[in-house]
Every structure is written in structure tokens, then in C-alpha cells.
């Protein structure tokens, strides 16, 4: 490999550990096997009643349970599992002594229905208001719910468990959060503030209200039967995304520091970029300029030309608008080179892991580089004629992959992209 600094004189940021949990399983091995076999982790929800819901399936992680049941508790546990795997691979620091900061992409936290109903029953009345609930909230009986439903609680737990240094940052850029967590880690290392950073994206928030909220915004697929076929990125008959759970964790290090301790280098975060869309709360600017600008900023940050990208791990949510907009903007950025770039969406199999997606897909992008094999976009039976991507449809494809662009776009005008490479560029 080359010098420890990139062409802009900044420390090169490498990945030395990765962990992942999705509805396909726990760990890189299981996930990669199932992902490249084209298996779906989407299933009919069994965690809570589905009566009255328009969308009844999701990519839930049912093989992990937490007690007491809460989405925030599951979110925390998934992050812990993915982080444990990443740290074991990286072999960095001592037990509970990670030598750097934590950047955590996590869903906004709030009191959840099981706990709210428990509180309501404690009021002892059949018609009551919040002020009646307030009378029974204190005195220590529900003290654990204060900590559980603080926004900083998941990061605080991870910081203590893994001994990360300093003030852990919990962040949300909606569906781009996972990518933003990685970007914050890259920036800290480039500034020379840290030699290592732990970047995690996690989301365990498939619960009734979360499902209803996305449903009321008409964002979710309602093709419930069979659930495995619901997520159809780039297909003409796609009708929305499928909510899912999961976590992705990455240990980032300066190349210099990783080399000095003889760590195995799994890949390089060569570039990061973001650009805000101020057009609308949920819709992209019709001209696509913010997404185009985001991808171009990321290429510039990596010092790469569009022709040097040989795979795109798409945001590919399977909402009618996202996939069309993603194609239109990508076509502008990559021009004549676009037909030579195989594109795939992991969300066809694992669903949309929301706050975790950027991190989960960054892990899958690095596994793609490692195995030189691109996971498929399943359920690709009726290609959308308006989307002329070279979609890796239905079966995995062996390919020479040196640089992957992974895109994430979210509500609130959030756009973030990463470029991951096998070797420093």
C-alpha cells in the first residue's frame, strides 16, 4: 500500500473491524451467505398484532429478544452485538477500552406504548389526562423508564460497555444516519483528533406506532403476500419500502495507526459527502441537484473521477419516487459510464434498516470488495423501463470491484454518500 496520507495530505482512514446484524442473521458470515444467495429477511410481523394495519410485514430481527420489551432496548442490543463483532475482528484496545470516540446513528427515542399503557393502568381511573398520569409517574416506581427513554441512553450504554473515549455522539440524519456516523468518524481521524473511531448505526424500531407513522405517509409497501416479495427496488411494480431492523458497526483507524499495530485492513473509506435538499420535508427537489451535488462532493472528497467507480450500493428503497430520482441523478453524475456500473440494493433482502441502513450497507459494500461478488437485488421481475441501471437482478454477480459508492437519502432533505475502496486511492 501507499503512503499513510491521501492525495490531499489527510490521514487515510481504513476499516479494521466490522459487525452486522440484520433480519438475515447475526454476523458477517451469515449475512453474506444469505445476501449472496438472494434470501429475504422480510416476514409477517409476529411481535405485535397486525390487525388493522395496511402493512403487515417487516424485516424484524426476531432472533434477538430483550426484556423488558422496548424498541430502544432492542436497538441497544443490536448495536452491542454488531460492535462486539467489529471489535473482535479489529483486535483493538483492551476489554472495555476502545481507544477512540463513538459516533452512533440511532432512531429518535421516545416513551413507547407498552410503558405508556403500563403507566395509564397505574392511574387507577378509566378516563384520565396526562396530568393524572403525572401524579403517579414519580417516586421511583418508573425510574428505569427515565434512563431508557433518554435520547442519549443507547450511546451511553455502548460507551460504558466498550470503553469508548470522550463524549459519545448520538445522531440522526434520518435514513442517512448510518452514513453520517461513518462520516463523523472519518472527519475526526482526518483532523488528527483520534487514531480510531467506532461508528455504529442501529435500529430496532419496528413497533406499531413506527409502522403506522410511515404507513400514514404512504411510504411503505403494502404488498404483504408473500412478504419476501414486498421489497422491489427498481421494479415497475414497486410500491414502497419495507421497515426493517439491524445494526452495522465499523472500527475506523488511521492507516498509519492500523499499520503500526499490524492490523488487517479490510478497506478504506476514501470519501464522504453530504448536501442538504431544502425543497420539501419528504420529497427531493425535482431537478435532483442536491443528490447530484452530494455524489459529486463525495467523488471530489475521494479524489476520484466517476469512471473510477465500479459498483453502486444504491439507497434503493423501492419507493416509487426514490428509485426514479436515484436513477435520474446517478445518470447525470456518471453519464456514459453508468451502463458499466452494476447497481444493487441490499434493501430488497434486508429491508430498510432506517437509522442503521448507511452503516449496514457500508459493511456490505466492504464485503462486496472483499469477495469481488455483488449481492443481488431480488424481486427484480418487472424492471422499471424508466430506470436503466445495470441492476444486479435476482442472482449475485462476480465482478471486479475496486471502488463502491454507497448512497443514503432521508426525510428532511438528508443526502449522504460514501466511497469505499479496497486499497488507498
Amino acid at each position: 500500500m501507499s503512503a499513510p496520507r491521501d492525495k490531499f495530505g489527510r490521514p487515510i482512514v481504513v476499516v479494521t473491524g466490522m459487525g452486522v446484524v440484520t433480519s438475515l442473521g447475526a454476523g458477517k458470515t451469515d449475512n453474506w451467505t444469505r445476501l449472496t444467495a438472494g434470501e429475504s429477511g422480510i416476514r409477517t410481523v409476529t411481535r405485535f398484532p397486525i390487525d388493522g394495519l395496511k402493512t403487515t410485514m417487516a424485516g424484524t430481527v426476531d432472533f434477538v429478544t430483550v426484556d423488558p420489551v422496548s424498541s430502544t432496548g432492542l436497538t441497544e442490543r443490536l448495536a452491542e452485538m454488531a460492535t462486539g463483532e467489529a471489535l473482535e475482528q479489529a483486535g483493538i484496545g483492551g476489554k472495555a477500552d476502545f481507544p477512540g470516540p463513538l459516533f452512533l446513528a440511532v432512531a429518535p427515542v421516545e416513551v413507547e406504548w407498552p410503558q405508556r399503557l403500563e403507566l395509564g393502568r397505574a392511574v387507577g381511573m378509566t378516563d384520565f389526562k396526562y396530568e393524572d398520569m403525572l401524579r403517579v409517574s414519580g417516586g421511583g416506581r418508573f425510574a428505569q423508564y427515565h434512563h431508557r427513554f433518554m435520547f442519549g441512553s443507547v450511546a451511553s450504554h455502548l460507551a460504558e460497555t466498550f470503553g469508548t473515549k470522550g463524549s459519545p455522539i448520538s445522531l440522526s440524519t434520518a435514513c442517512a444516519s448510518g452514513a453520517t456516523a461513518i462520516q463523523l468518524g472519518v472527519e475526526a481521524i482526518r483532523r488528527g483528533e483520534a487514531d480510531a473511531a467506532l461508528c455504529v448505526g442501529t435500529d430496532g424500531s419496528v413497533n406499531p406506532e413506527a409502522l403506522v407513522r410511515f404507513s400514514l405517509l404512504s411510504a411503505l409497501s403494502t404488498q404483504n403476500n408473500p412478504p419476501q416479495a414486498a421489497s422491489k427496488p427498481f421494479s415497475k411494480n414497486r410500491d414502497g419500502f419495507v421497515m426493517a431492523e439491524g445494526a452495522g458497526a465499523m472500527v475506523l483507524e488511521s492507516y498509519e495507526s492500523a499499520m503500526a499495530r499490524g492490523a488487517s485492513i479490510l478497506g478504506v473509506v476514501a470519501g464522504c459527502g453530504e448536501l442538504t435538499d431544502s425543497f420539501h420535508r419528504t420529497r427531493s427537489s425535482p431537478d435532483g441537484k442536491p443528490i447530484i451535488g452530494c455524489m459529486r462532493k463525495t467523488l471530489a472528497d475521494a479524489g476520484l473521477e466517476p469512471e473510477q467507480i465500479d459498483h453502486i450500493n444504491a439507497h434503493g428503497t423501492a419507493t416509487p419516487e426514490n428509485d426514479k430520482m436515484e436513477y435520474n441523478t446517478t445518470a447525470v453524475v456518471f453519464g456514459d459510464h453508468l451502463p458499466k456500473i452494476p447497481v444493487s440494493s441490499n434493501k430488497s433482502m434486508v429491508g430498510h434498516t432506517i437509522s442503521a441502513a448507511g452503516a449496514v450497507e457500508a459493511v456490505f459494500s466492504l464485503l462486496t470488495l472483499e469477495h469481488q461478488r455483488i449481492p443481488p437485488t431480488i424481486n427484480y421481475e418487472i424492471p422499471d423501463p424508466a430506470i436503466l441501471f445495470d441492476v444486479v437482478g435476482n442472482t449475485a454477480r462476480d465482478a471486479k470491484v475496486t471502488a463502491v459508492m454507497s448512497n443514503s437519502f432521508g426525510f428532511g432533505g438528508q443526502n449522504a454518500s460514501l466511497i469505499l475502496t479496497r486499497e488507498p486511492v
Partner: protein
Amino acid sequence: MTESKSAGAKEVWITGIGIVSSLGEGLDAHWDALNAKTINIDDKRFAPYIVHPLAPVSFDAQIPKKGDQRQMEAWQRIGTYAAGLALDSAGLKGNKEILGRMDMIVAAGGGERDLAVDESIMSADAKGNSSPGFLNERLMNDLRPTLFLAQLSNLLAGNIAIVHGVCGTSRTFMGEEAASIDAARIALARIESGQSEIALVGAAHNGERSDLLVLYEFGDFNLKESYAPVWQREGSSGFALGSAGCFLVLESREHAEARGAKPYARLTRVVADLAQRKQPGAVTRSLEAMWPKLGITADSGSLITGATGAEPVTSEEKAFLREHPGFAVRATGTMFGHTLETQFPLGLALAALSISRGALFPPNDPTGLEVEKPDAPDQIVVVGAGHWQGEGMALVEAIK
């Protein structure tokens, strides 16, 4: 501990400040209210709990489209309003070239719930009307479809982008008080290192929410029955939630000078840490460990703290303050209430304002912990220790 790096760093100026709170809106109103020792509380609406309610504000002045206002809940309107004030104060309103590349870090919690929907579902549940699909059906039928967008943490930033056109980058940090300490820390570090030239940083909080009172009541953090200044709550500790929005424009000195911007003060350092508070004294030790990182040159000066009034953290912070008796202390919680994510930006804003006005605002404390400080401050330390976790500190200085 995490700190912004200083070697070879660019100087960072505070060139815009926007505040709206229970004391009013804008810098003059706040300066006058602080000097008059004004405290506005409401002890009836949520009795026995006390809140510092938002002063009457005409949101039209910063959020001209009614449609935009309708898409937001109060916390987002407060924040979008304060962000507009900050941009006005920096002379940037409508400057598309700069706004289009401006970075933004917002510290946010979550938005308002539909309390009536919650109450009717819980009442029905308490009556035993809970068939398997009951919750689903009520949520599907009763929730306003766009309410989610008024609740999502990152949609305060989203609304600021839409209303004011701040659309370089947008990041939302969460995690109560510490979120805004880290927002300031990261924005400062990015500008110092050349990763960013100009950033909008801040937060907003609606303290007039019974669902938030419930959340903090779980941990017995609310001030009840009668109001007392922050340093006088030893008999009945707790915080009175406050409504406030506060945003700052931070930019590199070069960038500010090139556009002829007038600075209020310089933001020199921000440090943050997460003490493991299971051990008594951990907060005192955490604050003490951060102090030398600020690079303070004198053994006397001024200090603005966001001390909550909740225990044990307030007593631990007092123990730290006793080690620095030369510093004149001001607690924003006494006047503004506790505004969670907004408390630290508020401290930075009042520090910059005090420096620019050549005086620290007067003490507002019957216990004598806060003392008069007649001379013009050239350095002000800003302290934040979260009610349950997270500590940080900043140094705001006069520009030399």
C-alpha cells in the same frame, strides 16, 4: 474527554446570535431582561409543576408561510424562529451563496405528541377495550399523517433548510444536554481544521409539554410546588422546564473578515466528557479535569452555567465551582428554566453577548453564590452538566 484541536487551528468567531425564550426575543430584549433580573414562570398551567413559558412571539416574522408553520409543532417553530434571528444577526438572511454552503448542526430531542390521541387510547385501554388490533386501529385512524414530521428529531434542521435556505450540510445530534455541547465542539473543530468555513449551531426546546413532564417525573427531576432560583433548591431539588430556542453562527475569522461581518466574540475551546456517574464526585472530577483544557489565563473571571437544579449533579457542580472562587458565576436555569439541548447554546450566546456589551449581566441569586462583577469580561467560561449524564465546557473570549 474529547476536545477540539488547537494546533495550527483557524480562529473561530461568533458572528450571529438568535435567542427566543420566556424572556422575549432578540438580543436587546434579553439584555434588558437579564439586567432587570426578570423571571417569567407559569406555576398554574401544569401545577404543581412550574415552567418558563415562551414569551409571546409572532412566528410570521421569521416563518412567513403559514403552510410551513402548520407543518411544524411548537419546538420546530421555536427553533426555526431562533435560527432566523441568528441569520439576521449575522447579516446572512437571504444570502443564497453563503447559505447554500453553510453547515448546520442542530441538537434536538423529539417533537410533541398528540396528547388527546394518547389519552383516549389509554383511557380505552384502562376500560378494558383492548382487542388485539385496537392500538393499531386507533393510531391509523387518529394520528395526523404529517405529525411524524413534526416529531422527527432531524426535521428541525429540515425546517430550517426549507424556511431559511441553510442547505450546505445538515446533522442532528441527540442526547439531551450533551447533544448541543458536542454540536458546538464538532462545529468548532471542523472550522478550526478547515473542514468547514461557516456553521449554524443551536437547539430548541418546548418546555410546555405534559408528556415531557411525565418523562422527567419518572426520574423525579421536576421542580414542584414553588419556584426557587437554581442555587436555592437544596430543600426541593429539580428543574423547571423552559421553552427556548438559541442558534449561533460560527465562522472562521478569514471568512467573517472577507464579508465584513462584525463578531460578538471568539469561540476558543469546547471540551466534553461522559463521566460514569455511579461514583459520587464523578461530575466534580469530570469538570475539574476539563478546566485546564480551556487554556484560561487568569484565576478570576466569569462563568455561565446551565446548572439544572436537579440533584446530585448540581451539588457536584457547586463543589467544582468552590474550587474556582475567583470566577463570578451566573446560572441560566434561574431565568430561563431548564431547556435541555438549548441550555449550552444559550450559555454560549449570553457569554458572547456579555463580551460584546462589555459587561457580565448581574447576579440573580439570593444565596450569594453569584456575586457582582463590575469589570468588562474578556473571557467567559460556559459550563454544562446534564441532569443525568454528559458534561462540557467552553471558553468564549473577546477578540484581540
